[in-house]
Each structure stands twice: as structure tokens, then as C-alpha cells.
Subunit: 342 residues, 4 copies
């Protein structure tokens, strides 16, 4: 269980890292929307491996195929099945570690949960699973008028000072601060050389979100976004608007003062665009904490299935920092939430 | 919509702050469990107003009534309806502000969403809605073997240094550090005198959670907990284990090394007890950022429905800091997630 | 589980025959609809006991209370909780039979499922559970423009020859054929005197249902109606349009020929108003087979929990034929399906 | 919407008659079950076209591919994606009738619902959609101990007199009465020659279903089965146990008397194995009314999208009677319900 997401717009995803294919079925897409494989491919290319020096050097084309739901270039209202066939998965390295619990990985918990684990490339727990999220999210983006920007604002201790959203797709970090991006890149390459990895923060700004989206009580828009983002492996936390800074603030500082200038606005945005679970028309803003990738080339101590101590070096081609490639995943999960919000 | 929570254990809640009653219907409770109104009342008393000098001085008994699902003191497997009738709600103050959008409150967004708003006491958006969560959660606690502790670790800039869990129910702050609790109390009373309010952090520790709980991909245990906690008004963020600190960490530091001593353990707990969405048997640990309450006695500038500028002082009896009363709410939402996890 | 119904319009019901109360919480009702307790009471009165000589002689007022979701006489978009408190339940007779499996009743299967059974008045399995369905359905009726008529067309071997829908509420049988109604009434009284009971057929005609309602594949409008109606105890079967008569028909006879006269119509209505799961604008017509009530005054042979043979006479005040009181239940379940259809 | 089925065992299906592929994703399958493409293919072969003289003469191999969820021949607990690629679909005939509303078909209602319709082979409304149901159901059969038999008991006016379940797979009618099967076959061939089609009844017997399966109130086992079966195109009605015959019965006849002989049994089975929504351990028995196929070679009068009168002869290779091929579909939908029941 756990492979279905959304209510009004519903997706079910499938596939393992080294299986035959990954994909998603999307139901609830309204009819008569123009959608092509090209539209989806464009988004998948943002998360594909091998984009730059700061991502894994694996080469996978991640070509998407639409199997259903489109007729003469338009949605029919029926479920859209998207499939990405796996091509050159090399499972040999995983055969070697198949009885070892890699630190920070799903090996132990999946085995505990299911009594069987497809260890090849992490199986269903692989970051590769997010291919299906981006593919489905590419369709969700067609269904919402909001503009979603997800970008790196911190890598290790290096922080972006600016929010130049036009800069995001111009540097390999997806960072809205050109200068910070360069320093982040240098930092990542340094850490990669050490056989290590590093964490970071991805921020999201949603523009043009109409007021009135979301629900009271349990299905608050922020609660749904939190679930969507925390469901992505490697995300350790989320905060909206003022976030953890609100802890040290007083009510008189934190309350966003309302005013009217044409439409109703607030002077500050500590709320992060969502009040009582419902969008208020301001930019929706949240930040996700990303942990350093678990797969590192440094030697680590762990155990195997029998409890025997083992030293492991997870060689292979892994991301030294997830921010550049996880940002598009967060962006597309956000799109799925917005497109399904009512 | 948005008033249903959970799958395997499902609740639907209802009720407004100044309506006739608040309550919950709970379905999926297994049969033959001993449950009495006393069990539930005990938990409700933890969140009721007027407990101490640091909470609102309103006096509501919040007495729970079981309307169904219990026969001869035991659950029958059929839905349990819990109702708390509202007693002495005084709506007069709200009549005065009925056309004003109070800053930080649901007035504007609810009106935008529904075109009608029960402004008395905040209606459905009131913190009073959480009565139903605690009542339902009290039943959930009977269904899980895990022990859940929710407690205040920060108020404004004052932080708890200790985690003495036995201390929690002994001070009005629900703080596991006796000394810090005293300072927090002084700070809150000072801020209250200023007609202002203050934020804080509530931390949760779950003990005795068996490994193997939770799901892969979308219904990760941490994703479900995040949704549960972010669905509580006033929560601005959540982080698991290392949380936002993971951002500056390297993989070699962050990875929790596995070892076996009787059962399989990890030497550190940066994961916060959940790996790849599934519990690993370590303590589950997360923290929630709580904003300062929006209802303050200080004068604030805002507008009314017509867009006219208005000065407002939200007098009345409000909590100056939410931590002591929101901790039990977070605890019971956590219980609902755990009892429904598979 | 199993106490939730609907998706877009969602209800959760609760309560036992001899417990404190029965009721429903309804979520998904759009805001600003005028609803009063009187509106709901009017519908509840159609199913209440003691209406006529052909129904049970018990006297219960089944007075409904709205606990939430209505403000100044209008819906707020928040959940509506409806409660009917039980008044004069007399459980003494049930204490006598508490260890006996009454034939045709839930005693055995509920005990098998849950290991505990509230035997008083049948507990959750009582027909009294349908109070909650009618109360919730009364709200659903406010949300759909379709007009739903549910009426008795057969009792034992006596069949209605006419479909005079204005006649339905004029006779105790809810039969659209005045003459047949009289004969049905005589038949029921005769069978009642024998201490026995009799089956019947309830037919539903839905007028003014717009074309385009329902879904393809699994959530076909007829599939959803079938589930709704078969979920009512005592319903043994359902058929749409031509129904079981279609078995002996040829395609050339069965196909409804389309034509256009203003709007698009069909000359015949073998489809019963639904084609490929979606309404076509013709009257939706279906029939439900109702079994004879299981509670009869005649002596029956059965066993108790220990397997010992027992002779039982279920004295008390029971319906000799369910049609007059089940018709409103079917009508309101139909309303719940239509109001939730998209 | 409408393409998801089940709760504990959940499937989402996709695909159009003449699109690239049809398939299903199945979530909730427990781990460590042996499943191969061969297991599924065996079931698909029962519904494939071209099996005999009484089914359509189209030749499609309907070869299934497992894309995910199986590792080393066993289920992993992760979603299983099953795909059947369409091979030799010939859409030319459909181009000719693309603007015509074929009587008894989805053309009009789908267009009304979605404003666009993939008319090729009926698109999503095609009976070919059931490929996905059978494929998913083949997996469900692995998860239930119950034995499900679905078979033809009536074609037009010809009825089976026997229930020799071993006979079912031995004749092209899937009829448990060898002699009746021969007469049914002759009848179908005669009607086919006339360019016409004929209806029938499929009965289901479920053996070895443990008592205690199903839920009270809305998710009664019979209600879920009714929805499952009515969701199959061409099904006009369903009845359980005594079914529509119960209408003319008295309670004293209809009540099934309980007795104990080793386990608790009933002497008759008017209940059809389900009491108060929960299985009682007796055989579960129900019957489905199947309408005559809408695609007939006889000339019919209808209209096109503009409302203009059109004469149409739906030539091509169609089933003259659906019973032999719909029986396996009903069988597999039944398996999905049982495997998901709790």
C-alpha cells in the first residue's frame, strides 16, 4: 500500500529502480486538455541523471511513453498511463551487497516490513521512483494556473542571498542566486572528491495561486503539501512562511496585517500564503530540509542480515547533493497537490 | 470536505466553537477493547482551558459523551460517536467583530472559500475543534502499544536543556526540564501582560514503536505524521530526527550505523526512527514549530469586509502561548496515525 | 469499518437500535443551502414506525437534532452532524434471546466477525440503522435537482398495474396503484395475523436527472446505485430498466433507438436511463427485491451459541412487510448517490 | 474518475480498445506470493476472443506483461503493473461511424460527459476494458482461499437444469449442464445468422468462503459484489440467494434454519451465503442478468451528432451472446472483492 496519491486528482505509481519500468496512472484529469509526450519529457529531463558535474554521472534517457487517455493529442477524461522503461540498469554491484544493510537506506526497514526486498538499485525505495512523480506532475501542471518555482537556497552552510527566479534554470544548482550557485558547486565538487555527500534546503514559491484553495481541519493545503513533500525520500522537514522562526516571534509581529488595494492583501507574509489551511492569494512559500545522500564512497561500518559486522564502500555513481535533482520532484509534487485542491 | 482523517482507522469530526456540540465518529476500532468515558475524559482534561496561569482563563468542562459503539464497557467493532456539548459560549464579543477580518485568523480565507462564515468564536476554524481530535485520539491510544510523549522544548528563546519525560505532566508548561519550565512560565506571563503572545516548539518522542510500521512512497510514516501535525492550526513546520540540522551535515556524519545487540539497532538516530518511510524500532522523534497565537489584546490594524480600515483589539480570554495545550493535541494526532499505520 | 458512504458527498453513520442515539455526519455539502430540522424531520416521518396498520406498532418519534454545520439557517460548508436520540427502547425481550441465533438475523455472522454482539434490538444490524440514512439523504435531496420516487409495486403475488406517482403518499403501502394498494393491505394484514411476513418489490423512478452523470468503468452510476441499495438490509436483488427481462431479448429489440426532438431522446428505455454507466437524460428506473422480514411470531427451530437446539417465537412489534417503510430508505440512498455523482 | 476499485486491495485500470495498451496497477498485494505471467495468462485466455464458434472471431492474443512488483518470481508488497499491448486493432470501420450515436453504446453518454470520445472500438467503454479486470483478478485469486465458479445458466429462454461445476470449462458456453450447453450453442448460432444477438444469465457459486467476511451497513459483502458486477458493461441486474423469488415468499419459508453439525450451518440457503452483509460459511450464490450485445449486424435507425437520422449496420466481428466471455470477467471481479474483504 501507499502508492496512491490524491483524491480529486488521483495517481497510482509503480516500478523499481532495476525492474522493467516505472510509471504512473493518473485519473481525474479533465478532458480536452492538450498533452503530448514532449510536454512530459521536458519536465523529466529536469530530474534526469547526468545533467551536470554536480549530479550523478549515470546516463539514463528516461523516455516517457503515453499508453492511454490521450486521443488526437487531447485528454479524454480517462486515465493516463505513463511508462518509462528502464534501460541500462547494472545490478551487479547490488548483488555484492545484497545481504548487507546499507546505512541510511531502506534495506533493513523494507525487509522488516515485507520479508523480501528487491535490493537491485534500492528497488522501490530508490530515488528513481520519483520519475513517476515528475511524469504525473507534468500533467498536473497543465491543470493549475499557479506557477510553481522550486529552487536550492542552501547547500551545507552556503546560503543564497537572492531570489532571482529567472536564474533558476540557468545554473546546475537550480539556485536563484548566481554567485551562491558557483560557491555551492565548488563545495559539492570538493565533498564529492572526499567520497562524501552534503545536505541542503529547497524552497518553493507558488505564484498566482487563487485565494480559497484548500480545506479546513485535516486537509489543510499546508498539511497536504507537507505530506506530499515529506513523502519524498531524503526530506527531513518542512516549514511554511515564517516557519521555525515563528517560534521566537510575538503575535504582534507575526500577524499579517490585511489591507485592500484592488484585491485584499497582507502587508507581510508570515503565513506563507495559507491561513487556516486555505490559500489567501499571497505567494505560497515553504522550505524543505534535504539530508545528505546516504550512498557515499567512504567506508562505513554496518551489519549484514545475520547481524555480522561488515565494512561497506558504496561505490557507483551517486549524487553528492540532492538539491538540484530533488527540486523538480518537489515542484511536481506541489503541482499534484494544487491540481487536486478544491 | 477535509473533515475525515485516516484509512484503516478512520475518523470524521464535526462542530463549531459556539455551536451546539463538537465531536467525532471513529470507525475501524477493533472489537472487545475496554473503553469508558473516563478514559477519554482524562485525555480531554489535558487540553481543556483554564488549567493554569499560562493558559486561557475560560472555564469549559468539555465533558465527553459516548453515543455508540460501546456495549457493556467494550468496543463492538462499530463506529464510536463521541460528543462534547458546548456550554457557556459567549458570542457577544464576536458579534461586534463579525464584519472584520482579524489578522492571522480564518475570517478572510473561510469567507473566500465558502461565502459564509460562522464567526462566533472562529466557528469551525477555532482551536476548539481539536477537542474532537483528542477525544478520538484517546481511543487510538488504546489501540497502539507505542508510548507517545509530546512536550514543550522551547518558548520564545527559552529552551529546555533536559528531556526528563517524567517531568512533563508535573509542570503547567508540559516541559521535560523543570528549571526551563519556570523561566518559560515567567516569560509567558510577562508577554501576556503586554497583551501579546509568543511561539514555541513541541517535541514528540514515541517509544516502543515496533519496526516495520509505515509504507513506501506516498504513505510514509513521516509523511502521514507531517500531515497530521500540520493539520493542527498554528503549526508552521515539522522536522524529523536531525531535521533542518541535516542540511549542514555530510553523509558520513548523518548515516546511522547499524549494529546488533539482541535486536538490530542504530548507534545514532539522525533518522528519527523512520527510514524510507518505515519505522526502524528506534525512538521516533519529531519537532513542531508553533506560531504565537493570533488573538492578542494589542491594537492591530486591519480591514472589514468592505475593505475599510479598522483598528481591532481582540480582548477576551486567549492563550498567550499554545505549547502547553497544543502538546496533547499533537500527542493524540500522533496516536491516530500510529493506530492506523500498517 | 463499512460505515462511510460516498466520495464527493461523504457520510459516516453511527448508532445501535437500543443505544443512546443514531446519527450521521455529512461532509461535502456545499455552503449557503437553506436547511432546517423541519426539512429532515419531514423525511424521517416517512420511515418512522407506527404510521399505519401495515407497519410495526412501535411508537418512536425519531426527532432529529442538528448539532453542527448550519449557521443562521444555512449550510456553512462544514460537516453537518445529525442525531436522533433513542427514547423508549425496551431491551427486555432481547435479554431473553441473547444467546440464541435468530434465523435470518445478524446474530451469528456479527458474532463471528466481531466476537461480541450488541444483541439489544439487533444492535447495529437493526433496520433502525436506516434512520441515519434517511436523515443524511434528506440533505442530499437538497443538493440534487432530480426528483426521486420510490414506491411499492408488488407485495407477495399482488402487483401494481399502474404508475400513478401522485398516489404514492396517499396510501399506507406507498403504492402508485390505489386499487392494488388495498389488496396489498388486506394481504399483509392476513399474513400478519398468521404471525408471518411477506416480501415485495420497490421500484424507483428518477425524473429530471441530467445526462452525463456517472463515471465509466468501476463507478458507473448503476453500480453505485446497486451498492447503495444492496447495502440496505433485506434487499435481495436489483435490476435496471429491462433488468432480468433482458435475458430473453434480442439485441434488435433491446437497443433503444435514439432520436432528436429538441433534446436527444430514446424511443424505448430498456437501458433504464443509464448507458455505459452514465445517465442519458431518460428516467432512471430500477427495482429492488425485498425479502420477507425475518422477525416473525411463528415458532422457528434454531440453535443457541452452544449449538443447542432452541425453539423461538420472535414476539414483539415487527413489520409484516418492509415495502412501505423501506421505500423511503431506498429513496434517500438514491439521493445520496445522485448528490455525490459527478 | 471511476477507474479505481477496492480498498484493502486496490486496483487502477487504464487503456482503450484501440489505444496502445490496456492494463492495471494493483496495490495491497501481500509479499512473498508466487506469481508468474503464466498464471495470469491462463485466466486471460478464458476471456480472449476467438475461442469458439459462439464468440467473436477476432484474433487477439492478449499477452500480459508484468512491469513491476515481482522479484525472483515472488510479490514484493509493491504495486504490480500488468500491461497488455494492443496489436491488430482495425479502426477503419469506426472512422465511418465516428459521428453516429450507435444504439445501446456509450457514444452519446460519453460525449455528453467528456465533450470528446475516442470512438475507435468504443474506446474506454469497450468490453475490451475487462482485460485489465481479469488480469488483476488473476492476482486476487492467489490471495483468497475461496473457490469461485462463474457459469452460464440461461441463454434466451434455454435454461441449465444441472449445476455440474466440473462441466463448465468443458463446453464453449461455460454451462454446467452439458445438454443445455448444446442447445444454447445452436440457439446462439441461429441468432448470429440473423445478424442479431441474445441475452443470458451468469450464476456464481463461491465455495470455501470463511464465515465472518464483509462489513455491516454500507460495505456489506453483497453490496460490494453488486457494485463489482454491475460495473461490468451489459449487466442489467443481480440477485443473491433466493433473489427476486423472495418477493413472493413468507418469512417462515425464507428464514434459513440454523443447526450445528461440526460447524454451524443453515438447512436452506435463501440468504445466498451472506447474512447482514457478512458471509455465514455457506456457499455464496448470486446471478447476473446479461443483456444482448448492442453491436448487431441488423439495420438500426439512429441519429448522428447533428441529430440527423441515420441507418446503421454494425458489421464486424462481435459476440452474439456475452455469457461465455463475461463469466470469467464476473469471476475475476468476484475474486477482487473477496481478496479485499476483511
Amino acid at each position: 500500500m501507499g502508492n496512491t496519491f490524491g483524491k480529486k486528482l488521483k495517481i497510482m505509481t509503480f516500478g523499481e529502480s532495476h525492474g522493467k519500468a516505472l510509471g504512473a496512472v493518473i485519473d481525474g484529469v479533465k478532458s480536452n486538455i492538450k498533452i503530448s509526450e514532449k510536454d512530459i519529457q521536458k519536465e523529466l529531463d529536469k530530474r534526469k541523471p547526468g545533467q551536470s558535474t554536480v549530479t550523478t554521472q549515470r546516463k539514463e534517457q528516461d523516455k516517457v511513453h503515453i499508453l492511454s487517455g490521450i486521443f488526437k493529442g487531447r485528454t479524454t477524461g480517462h486515465p493516463i498511463c505513463l511508462v518509462v522503461y528502464n534501460k541500462d540498469a547494472d545490478s551487479r554491484i547490488y548483488e555484492r551487497w545484497k545481504d548487507v544493510f546499507r546505512p541510511g537506506h531502506a534495506d533493513f526497514t523494507y525487509l522488516k516490513r515485507y520479508g523480501i526486498h528487491d535490493y537491485r538499485g534500492g528497488g522501490r525505495a530508490s530515488g528513481r521512483e520519483t520519475v513517476a512523480r515528475v511524469a504525473a506532475g507534468a500533467i498536473a501542471k497543465k491543470l493549475t494556473k499557479a506557477k510553481i518555482f522550486a529552487y536550492t537556497i542552501q547547500v551545507g552552510t552556503i546560503k543564497a542571498k537572492k531570489r532571482d527566479l529567472k536564474e533558476i534554470e540557468k545554473n546546475p544548482l537550480r539556485c536563484p542566486d548566481k554567485e551562491a550557485a558557483k560557491r555551492m558547486q565548488r563545495e559539492i565538487l570538493k565533498i564529492k572528491k572526499q567520497g562524501d555527500s552534503i545536505g541542503g534546503i529547497v524552497e518553493v514559491t507558488i505564484k498566482n495561486c487563487p485565494p480559497g484553495l484548500g480545506n479546513p481541519v485535516f486537509d489543510k493545503l499546508n498539511a497536504d503539501l507537507a505530506k506530499a513533500v515529506l513523502s519524498i525520500g531524503a526530506v527531513k522537514g518542512i516549514e511554511f512562511g515564517s516557519g521555525f522562526k515563528a517560534v521566537e516571534m510575538k503575535g504582534s509581529q507575526h500577524n499579517d496585517q490585511l489591507y485592500k488595494k484592488g484585491k485584499i492583501r497582507t502587508r507581510t507574509n508570515n503565513a506563507g500564503g495559507i491561513v487556516a489551511g486555505i490559500s489567501n492569494g499571497e505567494d505560497i512559500i515553504f522550505r524543505a530540509a534535504i539530508k545528505p545522500p546516504s550512498s557515499i564512497a567512504k567506508e562505513q561500518l554496518t551489519i549484514d542480515k545475520k547481524g555480522k559486522k561488515v565494512k561497506i564502500k558504496v561505490s557507483g555513481r551517486h549524487d553528492p547533493c540532492l538539491c538540484p535533482r530533488i527540486a523538480p520532484v518537489i515542484e511536481h509534487m506541489t503541482a499534484l497537490v494544487l491540481a487536486g485542491a478544491q
